[in-house]
C-alpha cells in the first residue's frame, strides 16, 4: 500500500497508510474496532475504489490490472459467506469456477483440501449444517483453492470459540509454512499474533507500527503483544 486514503463522506477511514506485506509471512493487521481494517480489506479486494494512493499486489497495480491482481488473492470475509443451502463440495466448486479452475483441477483440489482439513466426510454436507469452526475452515479452503500467493482475511475468527480459533489460525500458519503463502490477517485480538509475525498496527486509519513483532515488543520494552498494542494505541490517540 502506498499513501492509501479512503473516507466515508467527511469521516476519514484510512489516512495515507503505507506498508508492505513481506512475502511468505503471516502479517497481522492488528487494530481496535473502527481502526479501518475492514475498509482496507474492501479496498484491497477492490470492493471500494481508493480515493488516493496505490495498492500493488505482487507488483501489479490493482487499479490497472484488477483481474490479474485479484487472481493472486484468496479472501476470507468477516461475514460468514458460504452458501448455506449448497453442500461443501458445491460451495468449493463454485469458488473454483469463479477463479477459472478446470473441472479436473477443481475435483483434485477439493479432494486435497478436504483431506488437509480433516473433513473428507463433509463433502456432501450442506454448509448450514456445519458448526461455525468448520464453516470457517471451509472458507479458508475455498480462499486457497486456486493457490493464491496472498491470503487476505478480515476478522476470520470472530464468533469462534477458543479451540476453533486456535485450530483455524494453526491451519493458516501451516499454509504459510508449507505453501509459502503470504497472509494479511486483520484482527482486533492481540493473542492471535506471534513474535515471528509481521505486525502492522492500525489505529484511527493510520499505521502506528509496522515491523517484526519481536522487534516492536523490544522497542516498547514488553513481552506482551497486548501490552504493546495498548501502549502504541494510547500514544497515537490524542
Amino acid at each position: 500500500m502506498r499513501a492509501l486514503s479512503f473516507a466515508y463522506g467527511e469521516r476519514k477511514a484510512l489516512d495515507g497508510i503505507s506498508f508492505a506485506v513481506q512475502p511468505g509471512r503471516f502479517a497481522a493487521l492488528l487494530g481496535p474496532n473502527g481502526a479501518g481494517k475492514t475498509t482496507l480489506v474492501s479496498l484491497i479486494c477492490r470492493l471500494f475504489e481508493p480515493q488516493a494512493g496505490t495498492i500493488l499486489i505482487e507488483g501489479r497495480d490493482l487499479r490497472r490490472e484488477r483481474h490479474r491482481a485479484l487472481t493472486s488473492l484468496g479472501i476470507v470475509f468477516q461475514e460468514r459467506a458460504l452458501e448455506s443451502e449448497l453442500t461443501v463440495e458445491q460451495n468449493l466448486a463454485l469458488a473454483a469456477a469463479l477463479r477459472g479452475l478446470s473441472r479436473s483441477e477443481t475435483r483434485a483440489r477439493i479432494e486435497e483440501a478436504l483431506i488437509r482439513l480433516g473433513m473428507p466426510e463433509s463433502r456432501h454436507v450442506r454448509a448450514e449444517a456445519l458448526n461455525a469452526g468448520h464453516r470457517r475452515r471451509i472458507e479458508i479452503a475455498r480462499a486457497f483453492l486456486h493457490r493464491p500467493r496472498i491470503l487476505l482475511s478480515d476478522e476470520a475468527t470472530v464468533g469462534l470459540d477458543i479451540p476453533a480459533r486456535r485450530s483455524l489460525i494453526a491451519l493458516v500458519r501451516t499454509l504459510v509454512r508449507e505453501e509459502g503463502l503470504s497472509v494479511l490477517w486483520a484482527t482486533h485480538l492481540a493473542d492471535e499474533v506471534e513474535k515471528d509475525d509481521q505486525l502492522i498496527l492500525l489505529n484511527r486509519g493510520r499505521v502506528i507500527a509496522d515491523g517484526l513483532t519481536r522487534e516492536i515488543l523490544a522497542g516498547i520494552g514488553t513481552d506482551s503483544v497486548e501490552a504493546a498494542f495498548n501502549v502504541l494505541v494510547s500514544r497515537s490517540t490524542p
Partner: protein, 270 residues
C-alpha cells in the same frame, strides 16, 4: 481470464441459482398458486362480466381465462424478478455477494450471469404454469409453448434487470412489502395483463395512456403474440430497450464505492 474461464464462471453462477431454486421447492409452489388463483377464481368471476372482442393475435372470440394467461406468465416473471432482488439483498447481508463481486471478472459479467440464472428459474416456473393451464382446459396452443420461449427469455431478463436495480436501492429484506405496493401491483394492474387496453380506454383514457407506457404491458403483449407464433415488433423494441436500460442502471448502481458516496452503505463498513 480465458473464454473457457468465462464460460465456467457463467455456468457455475447459473448452476448456483438452479441449485438454490431446487433447494427451495416451496418457491415453485408459491409461484404457481398466485397465478392459478387468478386464473381459476378471478377468471371464472370475470368471464361473464368482461366481454372481449376479436383483437390480434386472437382470431375468434376467446374466453377471459385465455386472455389473462400471458399476463399471468408475466406476473410469474415479475414476482420472480422481485424475488431475485430480495435474494440479492439477502446475499449482500450474508456476505455471499462479496464473494461474487471479488471474483476476477467484470462486474457486469457477474451480474449478467446471476441474472441469467434467475431467468432460467423464472422460465421454468412459467412453463409449469402453462402446462397446468393446458391441463385445466384452457386452449393454449401447444406449438405456442415453443414459440413463446424467446419472448419469455427476453421478458425474464427485463424483470430480472428491474429486480437487480431495485436490489441496489433496497437496504433491508423487510422492505419487500414496499416493492409489492410500489412496483409489483402498479406494474401488474396498470397493464394489459387483465384487460385489453381498449377496454381501459373506454373507462379512463388517462389510465389507458399510463398502461400503454408501462413496460410490463409490452412484456405481456410480447408473450401474448409469441404464444400464437407471432412477433409484435413494438413490444419487442420496448422490452429490449427497457432491459438494456435497466441492466445498465443496475451495473452502475452496483458499484459499492458509488453507493458509499451516495451515502448508502451498500456493504457494511467498519
Amino acid at each position: 481470464m480465458t473464454a473457457s474461464g468465462y464460460w465456467r464462471a457463467f455456468a457455475a453462477i447459473v448452476h448456483r441459482e438452479l441449485l438454490r431454486f431446487w433447494h427451495q421447492r416451496e418457491r415453485l409452489i408459491a409461484a404457481l398458486v398466485r397465478p392459478l388463483l387468478w386464473l381459476i377464481v378471478f377468471g371464472a368471476g370475470f368471464r361473464s362480466v368482461l366481454g372481449l372482442s376479436i383483437t390480434p393475435p386472437y382470431q375468434s372470440y376467446i374466453l377471459y381465462e385465455l386472455y389473462i394467461v400471458p399476463g399471468l406468465c408475466g406476473m410469474i416473471q415479475l414476482f420472480a424478478g422481485m424475488q431475485s432482488s430480495l435474494a440479492m439483498v439477502y446475499d449482500r447481508a450474508m456476505g455471499a455477494l462479496r464473494v461474487l463481486l471479488t471474483a476476477p471478472f467484470p462486474r457486469w459479467f457477474l451480474l449478467l450471469a446471476r441474472l441469467a440464472g434467475g431467468v432460467i428459474t423464472s422460465t421454468l416456473q412459467v412453463y409449469a404454469f402453462l402446462v397446468i393451464t393446458i391441463l385445466y382446459g384452457i386452449d393454449v396452443p401447444w406449438l405456442g409453448l415453443l414459440t413463446v420461449l424467446p419472448a419469455l427469455i427476453l421478458t425474464g431478463f427485463m424483470m430480472g434487470a428491474a429486480g437487480l436495480l431495485i436490489a441496489s436501492f433496497l437496504r433491508r429484506v423487510e422492505n419487500f412489502a414496499g416493492i409489492m405496493n410500489f412496483v409489483i401491483f402498479p406494474a401488474f394492474f396498470l397493464s394489459s395483463a387483465l384487460y385489453p387496453l381498449w377496454r381501459m380506454e373506454e373507462a379512463n383514457s388517462t389510465l389507458a395512456w399510463v398502461c400503454a407506457l408501462n413496460p410490463f404491458t409490452h412484456a405481456v403483449e410480447l408473450i401474448r403474440f409469441a404464444l400464437y407464433g407471432r412477433l409484435e415488433p413494438p413490444a419487442l423494441a420496448v422490452v429490449l430497450a427497457v432491459t438494456a436500460l435497466l441492466f445498465a442502471a443496475a451495473i452502475w448502481a452496483y458499484d459499492p464505492a458509488r453507493s458509499f458516496r451516495a451515502g448508502r452503505t451498500a456493504i457494511s463498513a467498519e
